[in-house]
């Protein structure tokens, strides 16, 4: 009995706090974290430009080709993390999509249909994740996607064993190497999708429901939000974007192996968190995450320009991730990202 009472008390306090925050926070919050990110991005661009003669004009746009594939997954991962969930199977999903697309094409399927198949596989993988996460609430999504991560990658290995597959038609390379005017096609595609995802999150009822669910799933359920359905949609979207990532990644490399996109999940999560999305759920926004994509991307690119080795880059990215969370915890006085029970 007393346990119930204390539980009630706690949820009430939490509710009060989140209502207060919603009233006070938005402007302050928009003016802080995102501007800091913009400042970091500008600094990185200036430093890049001053250390290398190759970082001029259109080259700045061309550089995006190197990291846009991860950017697509970031868009959907924002939704997943806003729910307070996580999906670590996306790298494996992308690998499976890519492998199935290549095998289907080489088995005589037209390339256009293979592209659709690639997206469909991603959609299916995400849907399975969503169903499992929604139906088995007792298991954290981290564990479920840990299992499906092994399974999806396992299927990719069963299909292609240790072979590589490729031989795509020339026009397929357009996806990641083509231009529309001076703008790389992949960047344009990313901007279009970013706008769509941004509108979906910030201007649609669905997006508001995601925030509500991330703040308090139980109250959301009782206020009539179809919690399970939304969760399944979000995870399916995540799978679909992993499929999109697979398209661009495969196009960039012109061939595929079962071990592509290994560790992508961690990079993507790092970008989302750097963008100010709290892993406890319910806090964060799309512009921040998009800025983080460019920060991490340009940082990697710039470090590459001045011949910083990939190893040091790993260290820098890791420190950046931790530093950004520490900064948001202590300097900016944002609500602390406490572990979720």
């Amino acid at each position: 009995m007393s346990k119930m009472a204390s539980l009630n008390k706690r949820t009430n306090v939490e509710l009060d706090r989140s209502v207060l925050e919603r009233r006070l926070e938005p402007k302050k919050f928009f003016l802080q974290w995102e501007w800091l990110l913009v400042a970091i991005l500008v600094v990185i661009l200036i430093v890049n430009g001053s250390v290398s003669d190759y970082f001029r004009g259109t080259q700045i746009l061309d550089a995006t080709m190197n990291f846009m594939d991860k950017g697509f997954m970031v868009l959907a991962m924002v939704f997943v993390i806003l729910l307070g969930e996580i999906d670590i199977s996306i790298g494996s999903t992308a690998a499976l999509c890519s492998v199935i697309m290549a095998v289907a094409y080489n088995a005589g399927m037209p390339m256009e249909l293979s592209l659709v198949l690639c997206l469909a596989v991603g959609l299916g993988c995400g849907y399975v994740n969503g169903i499992l996460v929604a139906k088995y609430k007792e298991v954290p999504s981290m564990i479920i996607t840990l299992a499906t991560m092994t399974i999806y990658r396992g299927i990719a290995y069963i299909i292609l064993e240790d072979q590589a597959s490729g031989g795509f038609p020339d026009w397929f390379q357009y996806l990641s190497w083509g231009y529309v005017g001076p703008i790389p096609f992949s960047l344009l595609m990313f901007i279009v999708l970013a706008v769509i995802f941004g509108l979906l999150l910030h201007k649609s009822a669905f997006g508001r429901q995601i925030y509500a669910m991330g703040n308090n799933e139980t109250t959301s359920r009782y206020s009539g939000i179809k919690v399970d359905r939304n969760k399944i949609i979000v995870f399916t979207l995540m799978g679909l974007m992993a499929g999109v990532c697979a398209l661009f990644l495969t196009s960039r490399m012109a061939s595929t192996r079962p071990n592509v996109a290994q560790g992508y999940e961690l990079d993507v999560i790092a970008m989302v968190v750097l963008g100010g999305v709290s892993t406890a759920g319910g806090k964060g926004n799309m512009p921040g995450a998009i800025l983080a994509v460019f920060i991490v991307g340009y940082l990697r690119y710039g470090l590459g320009l001045i011949n910083i080795s990939a190893q040091v880059m790993m260290i820098i990215i890791g420190l950046l991730l931790i530093g950004s969370v520490l900064a948001s915890n202590f300097l900016l006085n944002r609500p602390k990202a406490l572990p979720k029970k």
């Binding site: 088995y136 954290p140 499906t148 991560m149 961690l266 892993t279 190893q311 790993m314 260290i315 420190l319």
Partner: protein, 334 residues
């Protein structure tokens, strides 16, 4: 009072039931493997299997402790690599170094790494998955950096260092002995030591743990540090066993460790997890890894089969628990 004692008893039977289920599953699996390939149940093969599983067992015990606090550590694979690399490099430059000092060096490195994780989680208030994800990159990068992306291979290591993993007392391999000692120490620590019990208290209800006067931050830092220590030990054993230290040693191994914990009934939300169950989880993974090649399953199928078994085990566990809860609800007098 009486009611609570009753539920306590019921919980106890439920948990033993769960472990029993896992044990039966394991035995059935072994019987099937034995029926397909009779060399499975030979002394050599079993010893081989235990030897290969011992490093996993050492890491899993530490991971369980961290998961009991409600945390997780994604950086264990990277700590294994870093500690292994540091000790291997030391041995390369000082070949006459006694083996146990190499082990101590590796454990020291692991201790430091774990302490950093612990401080970030407890004092920095970064949620564990993000903190250890970041440190994973840092540790892995450091491993490449100090080795200059080169390997330390067998001929650069002293015989004494390599014999850590090949030697043994009587017929029993050193790795198995070390794993057994570690498991026994932690069994005692987690069940019969006051500080060990505090870990469970912090994990099952952090607020009341703090109110009771438990220094939560200290317990958290200790858990991560101890896991780091074990990962350091595992790193030296790993390098000694494979007689090579590489930058990409144990990449992704944290997922195996977490899978073993989850199979063994350790809850990711904290507060639950027993050494007995954990060992069954570790053995299950070990048996799978050992027996699948024996029954002529292609290596390319291993990931898939392992993933399916983990998923099925988790979902079965939940279904059984749900049914048990439903029955308990039915029996309750209102």
């Amino acid at each position: 009072m009486k009611a609570s004692a009753n539920t306590l008893e019921k919980n106890k039977t439920k948990k033993t039931f769960r472990e029993l289920g896992l044990l039966v599953f394991l035995i059935v699996l072994c019987v099937i493997f034995q029926a397909i390939n009779p060399t499975f149940f030979t002394w050599e093969n079993l010893a081989d299997m235990l030897r290969n599983t011992s490093i996993l067992a050492i890491l899993a015990v530490g991971m369980m402790m961290v998961m009991v606090t409600g945390g997780i550590d994604l950086s264990v694979g990277a700590i294994v690599a870093l500690a292994g690399m540091v000790s291997a490099l030391t041995v390369q430059y000082v070949p006459q170094l006694p083996a146990f000092i190499a082990i101590l060096i590796g454990m020291g490195v692991g201790l430091g790494c774990g302490a950093v994780n612990g401080v970030l989680v407890a004092k920095g208030r970064i949620i564990p998955i993000i903190a250890t994800l970041g440190m994973m990159n840092v540790f892995r990068g450091l491993t490449y950096l100090i080795s200059g992306s080169k390997w330390v291979s067998a001929h650069q290591m002293s015989d004494g260092f390599k014999s850590i993993a090949t030697g043994g007392i009587g017929p029993i391999n050193t790795l198995i002995i070390i794993a057994v000692i570690v498991v026994l120490i932690f069994y005692y620590f987690l069940n019969y030591n006051r500080t060990g019990r505090y870990i469970y208290a912090v994990g099952s209800n952090p607020e009341s743990a703090v109110i009771t006067g438990i220094k939560k931050d200290r317990i958290l830092i200790m858990s991560y540090t101890l896991l780091g220590l074990l990962a350091g030990l595992a790193g030296v054993l790993w390098v000694s066993k494979f007689a090579s230290a590489q930058g990409d040693t144990a990449t992704g191994y944290e997922m195996n460790v977490i899978a073993a914990c989850v199979l063994g009934g350790v809850s990711v939300s904290g507060g639950t997890g027993k050494v007995g169950g954990l060992l069954l989880g570790v053995l299950l993974l070990g048996v799978l890894q050992n027996a699948l090649p024996l029954i002529n399953v292609s290596t390319f199928w291993e990931d898939f089969i392992q993933g399916i078994i983990i998923l099925v085990a988790i979902l079965l566990n939940i279904s059984v628990k749900r049914r048990a809860d439903k029955n308990a609800l039915k029996r309750r007098e209102i």
